[in-house]
Structures are given as structure tokens and as C-alpha cells.
């Protein structure tokens, strides 16, 4: 008998782990390489620009120098003898009067060679806003007299463009993020209420969104920005701009959420939850809105670049943020004439950064959209 029993061994107990919806989403997201790349780029942007801008930028955002509109100093791998060296360095800049243009210009002086060091001591700043330090990722040796390392050149006040791109990104990305969070909250809640209750509430909210979307964007921006008093400090202006952007953009999201709620409120699980004694509030916030979240996350990922571009456009027109606040839009505002573009084209270095950022967000959003529906598709 024992032999027979041995044949039918009990199958080994396997621990079955239930895959939640989000683990399935992550699993599918990982397989989309483009989206993962987009996600990594986005994370890098946030790390460099928002979490540790002081560390990655060699100079403070508004540090002026005597090198006005200096061209970028290329990174070279040569030593003093002119041979290849792993130690990167930049050549110094020499001021020269261009008589034909009657303009002071800068020429590269190969005689002066400033090596670039990693993790170098430099201008003091506060990491994460509270740790005082002077450590920078790279830079020239501060001890050397007149050593400069303007990788992307300087602007008309002699400020390092590279550092300003990083600091500008901090503001622009914050506007994108905060604006989208506000849009999201406003749009989701109003859209959900509109779809859930229907009737008069729905009518009022829908007419409101239509009214907002019917306005041409730019004049509305301009009118609202014009209403911001010029005497306000730059931080308050910054928040007002974010608020304005959020206020104008919530309508689209509200409509989409309303549509989703309209279809899902007829589903049996809502009825079932109601039959167990759930209140309207519970039905709406616990059973209906979580179901729309996957959609909302995708929409908002795709909306962040829109926000960033809107800020850029607004500031470019001189209606958004104003100096001394640094944002990508403010930086573009400084290249708003042909003369500057001609003589200092390196000021446009901010554009590839904006483009890359927007592209990365779109790639991420697209990947999320596919991943959020883990049961469908491939």
C-alpha cells in the first residue's frame, strides 16, 4: 500500500502570489523599451533639475561675470603639450575688438588651459534646500585666477548658460508638475461629479468647460497674466502662472473623466456597492474614480509637456515669469531677436533640452497608455 501511496505524491504547495493590477502594468511597461528610455530621461530631468540643481550646475543661476556673451568653451582632451589626455579641459577666452563689427568678441586662447575636475569645490549652495555645501559635479579649479568653464557659453550678463538651463528646468518642470496636479485634481473631481450626478450639476460644469475651451488660449493667458500685479515677488508670480495654466487646462480632463464615469456608473459593481450600503461619496471616490486613474495618469503624463510648453510660450512673450526668475521660457525670451540669435546662437542651447524633455514625456505617456491596459493588445 505504501508503494501505491508513494506514487501519488501530493503536489508541492506552491505559493501563489496574486498579481495586482499595478504589478501587471509594471510588467507590461518594462517590455516597452522606448517608454522605459523616456521614463529614465524624465527621471534624470527631475533628479538634475529639481532635486539637485546646485550639484549639477557649476555656477549659480544669476552669477554674473565679466565674460559677456562668451561662446561655449569646448571640452578638449589635451594636455599642456598638446597631446591626448584623459583629463578634460577647456581653453581660456581672450577678449578682442572686432573692428568690422565694432563689437567686443571672444576668441579661444589655447595658451590658457583650465582642467575640469569632478566633484570640485565651488560656489556654496544648499543641497535639497537645507544642506549647506559647495560640492559640484564638475568645474574648473576655483583657485586658478580667471579660470572659467562655460560649457554652453554665457548670456549678455555673463551668466553661465549651462547652469541656467538646469536652474530654468527646475522652474519649468515644477510648473509642469504642479500645474498638472492641480489640473488633475480639479478636472477629476469636477468631471466625476458631473458624470455621476448628471442633471443640473452636469449641465453647469459642462457649460463651464465649454466656455473655457471656447476661448482662444493665448489671449486668455495674456489677459490673465496681465492681471498679475508687477509689484508681486517672483515666487508669487510663479504660483499665479501655474494656477492660471491649471485653471485653463482642466476642462479637457474633466470631460474625459466625465465620459469614463458615465460609462462606469452603469456597471454592476457600482450597483453592488450601493446595495451593500455605500454612500454616494464612497461610490464616487472609492469605486468610480480609482477606475479612471489609469486613464488620468496617462492624460496627465501627456499633459505635462503641454504645460511646460505653455509656460515657455508665455514667458517667451514676456507675459509669464520675469527675471530674475530663471525658466526655460525666460531664457528663450532673451533670444527673441535676430541680432542675438546671430551673435550668440549658443543661447538657443535651451531648445534641445526642452525638445528632449517633451519627447521623453510623450514616450513615457505612450508607454503608460499601452501598459495601463495590461489585458488587451499583445
Amino acid at each position: 500500500m505504501a508503494a501505491v501511496a508513494g506514487k501519488f505524491r501530493k503536489p508541492k504547495e506552491t505559493k501563489q502570489v496574486s498579481q495586482s493590477y499595478w504589478s501587471l502594468v509594471w510588467w507590461k511597461f518594462k517590455k516597452n523599451r522606448l517608454a522605459v528610455v523616456g521614463g529614465i530621461i524624465v527621471l534624470l530631468y527631475y533628479l538634475i533639475c529639481m532635486i539637485l540643481p546646485g550639484f549639477f550646475a557649476p555656477y549659480p543661476a544669476n552669477a554674473e561675470s565679466r565674460f559677456l556673451q562668451a561662446p561655449p568653451q569646448r571640452v578638449r582632451f589635451v594636455n599642456a603639450e598638446g597631446n591626448f589626455s584623459l583629463r578634460p579641459s577647456v581653453f581660456g577666452l581672450e577678449s578682442e575688438m572686432d573692428m568690422a563689427l565694432r563689437k567686443r568678441t571672444w576668441v579661444v586662447d589655447p595658451e590658457q588651459r583650465y582642467p575640469l575636475y569632478f566633484l570640485v569645490q565651488g560656489e556654496p549652495y544648499k543641497a535639497l534646500g537645507f544642506i549647506p555645501t559647495n560640492l559640484h559635479l564638475f568645474g574648473v579649479d576655483q583657485a586658478t585666477e580667471g579660470a572659467t568653464g562655460f560649457l554652453f557659453g554665457t548670456d549678455r550678463l555673463g551668466r553661465d548658460v549651462f547652469s541656467r538651463i538646469i536652474y530654468g528646468g527646475r522652474i519649468s518642470l515644477t510648473i509642469g508638475l504642479v500645474g498638472v496636479i492641480m489640473t488633475l485634481t480639479l478636472g477629476t473631481v469636477l468631471g466625476a461629479i458631473s458624470g455621476f450626478y448628471g442633471g443640473t450639476v452636469d449641465l453647469i460644469i459642462q457649460r463651464m468647460t465649454e466656455f473655457l475651451t471656447a476661448f482662444p488660449d493665448l489671449p486668455l493667458f495674456m489677459a490673465l497674466s496681465a492681471a498679475i500685479p508687477v509689484t508681486w515677488p517672483s515666487t508669487r508670480v510663479f504660483f499665479m502662472i501655474t494656477l492660471i495654466l491649471a485653471f485653463i487646462k482642466w476642462g479637457g480632463l474633466a470631460r474625459q473623466v466625465r465620459g469614463l464615469i458615465l460609462s462606469s456608473r452603469e456597471r454592476e459593481y457600482v450597483l453592488a456597492a450601493k446595495s451593500f450600503g455605500a454612500s454616494d461619496y464612497r461610490l464616487l471616490f472609492k469605486h468610480l474614480i480609482p477606475g479612471t486613474m489609469s486613464h488620468v495618469i496617462v492624460i496627465s503624463t501627456l499633459a505635462i509637456p503641454g504645460m511646460i510648453l505653455a509656460e515657455t510660450a508665455l514667458s517667451f512673450l514676456g507675459l509669464g515669469l520675469v527675471p530674475p526668475t530663471v525658466s526655460w521660457g525666460v531664457m528663450l525670451f532673451e533670444v527673441n531677436n535676430v541680432r542675438t540669435i546671430h551673435f550668440a546662437p549658443w543661447l538657443l542651447m535651451v531648445v534641445p533640452f526642452i525638445v528632449l524633455c517633451v519627447l521623453a514625456f510623450n514616450m513615457l505617456g505612450d508607454g503608460l497608455r499601452d501598459a495601463m491596459d495590461p489585458y488587451g493588445g499583445k
Binding site: 505559493k15 501563489q16 496574486s18 498579481q19 495586482s20 493590477y21 456597471r267 454592476e268 459593481y269 450597483l271 453592488a272 456597492a273 450601493k274 446595495s275 451593500f276 450600503g277 455605500a278 454612500s279 454616494d280 464612497r282 472609492k286 469605486h287 480609482p290 477606475g291 486613474m293 489585458y375
Partner: protein, 420 residues
């Protein structure tokens, strides 16, 4: 305080829990006599109307029935006859644009101390606190579509925990002798892990394999039968006095259907709750119900205990329904159907609404006189002019009837009736 008088009252209020016999042990079924049990739910002349563009649809028109404690009442009828709407009315969850136009639904709510509170469910605010305390806790409901009855973003355990937490303090120890009851006694301040324990116990009770793991399963991990078990677990988690099962097995395949029905029988035996079982499947209702209400076009047409209904159906509609069940071993070219269509709700036939489809239609009477709902035999109610005592001499009626006044089981088909 405990005077003998009050004690006996409490005794009287105790429901008689019907013992369902194992079919193998004894094939003969005897009707469960539950008429001594106290009344739990009294639906009285309820009228439900839907105001749509083309006018008013009377989805339920003066429907009345009574559910006693521990009793299973089956409601059967064709699609669209008002079965589901009636059940929604009990929960006070009539979908827009419907409204309860009249009548009352009295819920005799048994309290823990043995007393009874009477609530008219129709009068409560549809989204108010009072009805929400009854929904889920006192009257629970399970639905037709288990595939979509669970919120996709939450696990099975969350659903059960939610139902329990919504009715904190409601769940009291009862003498059922099951381990999780002790867990939820006086569930004020129910903690997260406690709720989980209860959920696991509940899932075990409904026969879900590996409940410790399934408690974390999301709806998409579960099959239709498993989801329906979870639904039943949620519905029973607060030990309701009344369970409304709205076609709970329609979406399931037959073997799962049998399991679910068996489970419901078992749970009913354990908890002593009453069930309103809505279905259009006559086989299922025969298995489940103690008493059956047959509905046609928003009205009850016949009401009697299950066995008598199947043996001696008295309303031609019931007879036609029973005739349309295909029988094993009986070869037919064409399955029996009820001729004609359910009439247009805006243009109801005069007289008895069933007369255009009735095999026993009496011209000049059925299309003129509206039949009364009458008790034609003890505890056997029907709404048919064939049983109308005020006109017993009608030759056609007489010819059809048996000697004792009932109408025969085997009816002539429509063609036969016309040839005669």
C-alpha cells in the same frame, strides 16, 4: 424583566429554519410550511412607473407578496415582467427615470433583543442614512453578472472588509457555530487584520479554495463562479435577514450553477435568512423556493408553494411556462412556446393582459373583464377568469375545468383548442 410572557414572544419570533432534504435520501418533497413564521417583508400594492418619452410604463402594477423569516420566495416570469424592478424597489434603488408611484414595502426588522421594528422602505430617502443602514446589513443582494459585480481595482478581501466596516457594530454573535462568527462579534473598531481574518473566514464559508490566498485576489484572477462566491460572501458578511438573489446563476455554466445553488441552500440553513430568488429558470426555482410568485407584465398572476405550483398550476400562463420546459425522453418536433409576444407596455390589452396569448381565452369575457387576484384554493392565489366564481356557468370554462373546479394540468395546445 424576563417575564414568561415576553420570553414566549421571543420564542414565537424565532424563525423555523427549513431543513432541505437531501434529494437522494427521499425523492418525495413535502412543502415546507412556513406560514407560522413571523412576517419579514410585506410588499403591498407596490406600483413602479417609468416616465419615458412615450409615456408612462407601469413596470410593476399593484404587486403584493409576503416573505416570512427563513422562507425562500421565488419570483419567476419572462424577461421584462418586472421581477428585477421589484427587487430594486425593496432596496429602494429604482433606476432613473423610474419611481415608486404607490403602495408600501414593510420591512419587519428583527432586532437583537427579539423585538421587531417596522420600516416602510418606500418612504425612506433613497440616498439617506437609514436606507444605507438597511442595505447590506439587513437586506443584501447578489446580482446576475458576477463578472462585473466586483470593482476591478479592489481585491476580494477589500470588498468583504468594506461591507463589514460600513456596518460596524451590526454583526453580532449568533448561534451558528462557525469560527468566524466569534471573530466578528461586536465588530466595533474592526481593525485591518481583523477584517482580513473575517474575509478569509467568509471566503472559506462560501467554499472558495485557498481562501488565505484568494483574499488578495483581484476580480480578474477569479472565474465567474468564484466571483459569484465572493459576491455571496460579501452579501452574507453582515448576516442579512433577507437576501435578494437576482438571477444569481444565469451567467454561470450549469455545473457551477448547481454548486452555487447548493451553497445558497447550505448558507440559508446555517443562517436562517430569507431569500427572494428571482429567476426565469423554472428548474432552479423548483430547487430553491418554498413559495413561488409568477409574474406577468408587472402583476403577480399566481402564488402558491413550489410543489403545488409544479403539480397543479392554475393560471394558463404558469401552465404554458411549465409546458415550455423540454422533457427528457419525450421526442417533439418543436419545443413548446407561448404564442405571441409580450405586449407593448404602452398599449396593454384590455381585460386580462394575458388574453391575446392565452390558450383558454374566453371571447367576450377575458378581453373585457379585468380578473381579480383571488385565493382559489387554500393558499393558492391566482388571477384568472377561469376561476371567477361570479361566472361559473360559462360553457367554455366548464368544459375546460376538472370536476373539482381546478383547470387541468395538461392543456390542449392552441391548435387543438381552435379545432375543438
Amino acid at each position: 424583566m424576563a417575564s414568561p410572557n415576553s420570553k414566549s414572544e421571543v420564542e414565537a419570533n424565532k424563525p423555523v429554519i427549513p431543513k432541505t432534504k437531501k434529494p437522494k435520501a427521499k425523492r418525495e418533497r413535502v412543502p415546507n410550511d412556513l406560514s407560522k413564521n413571523p412576517v419579514l417583508l410585506e410588499v403591498d400594492d407596490i406600483q413602479i412607473q417609468f416616465a419615458v418619452r412615450d409615456g408612462i410604463v407601469r413596470a410593476v402594477d399593484k404587486m403584493s407578496f409576503v416573505v416570512r423569516r427563513g422562507q425562500t420566495v421565488g419570483i419567476i416570469g419572462e424577461s421584462g415582467c418586472g421581477k428585477s424592478v421589484t427587487s430594486r424597489a425593496i432596496m429602494n434603488m429604482i433606476p432613473k427615470p423610474g419611481k415608486i408611484a404607490g403602495g408600501k414595502i414593510l420591512f419587519h426588522m428583527p432586532e437583537a433583543d427579539g423585538s421587531v421594528t417596522q420600516v416602510n422602505l418606500v418612504e425612506l430617502e433613497p440616498d439617506g442614512n437609514e436606507i444605507r443602514k438597511i442595505r447590506g446589513a439587513r437586506i443584501a443582494m447578489i446580482f446576475q453578472e458576477p463578472m462585473s459585480s466586483l470593482t476591478p481595482v479592489y481585491s476580494a478581501g477589500f470588498h468583504i472588509g468594506e461591507a463589514i466596516k460600513l456596518h460596524k457594530g451590526r454583526v453580532k454573535r449568533r448561534t451558528i457555530g462557525n469560527e468566524m462568527i466569534e471573530n466578528i462579534q461586536d465588530a466595533k473598531g474592526l481593525e485591518e487584520d481583523e477584517a482580513r481574518e473575517v474575509a478569509i473566514g467568509m471566503l472559506r464559508k462560501v467554499g472558495l479554495p485557498k481562501p488565505e490566498q484568494r483574499v488578495d485576489a483581484y476580480p480578474h484572477h477569479l472565474s465567474g463562479g468564484q466571483r459569484q462566491r465572493v459576491m455571496i460572501a460579501i452579501a452574507l458578511s453582515c448576516y442579512p435577514d433577507l437576501l435578494i438573489a437576482d438571477e444569481p446563476t444565469t451567467a454561470l455554466d450549469v455545473s457551477i450553477e448547481a454548486q452555487i445553488l447548493e451553497l445558497m441552500q447550505e448558507l440559508k440553513r446555517d443562517t436562517g435568512m430569507a431569500i427572494i430568488f428571482i429567476t426565469h429558470n423554472l428548474g432552479v426555482v423548483a430547487e430553491m423556493a418554498d413559495e413561488i410568485v409568477v409574474m406577468y407584465l408587472g402583476k403577480e398572476v399566481e402564488k402558491v408553494n413550489t410543489i403545488e405550483l409544479f403539480e397543479q398550476p392554475q393560471h394558463p400562463y404558469t401552465q404554458a411556462l411549465l409546458n415550455s420546459i423540454p422533457r427528457i425522453g419525450k421526442k417533439v418536433d418543436k419545443l413548446a412556446t407561448i404564442e405571441g409576444m409580450v405586449p407593448d407596455p404602452f398599449n396593454l390589452p384590455s381585460g386580462c393582459v394575458f388574453h391575446p396569448r392565452c390558450a383558454h381565452m374566453m371571447p367576450g369575457k377575458c378581453d373585457v373583464v379585468v380578473p381579480e387576484y383571488a385565493e382559489i384554493m387554500p393558499k393558492h392565489w391566482t388571477r384568472c377568469l377561469l376561476h371567477d366564481v361570479s361566472w361559473p356557468d360559462n360553457a367554455e370554462a366548464q368544459a375546460l375545468k376538472n370536476k373539482d373546479g381546478s383547470i387541468p394540468n395538461r392543456l390542449p395546445s392552441l391548435e387543438e383548442a381552435h379545432h375543438a
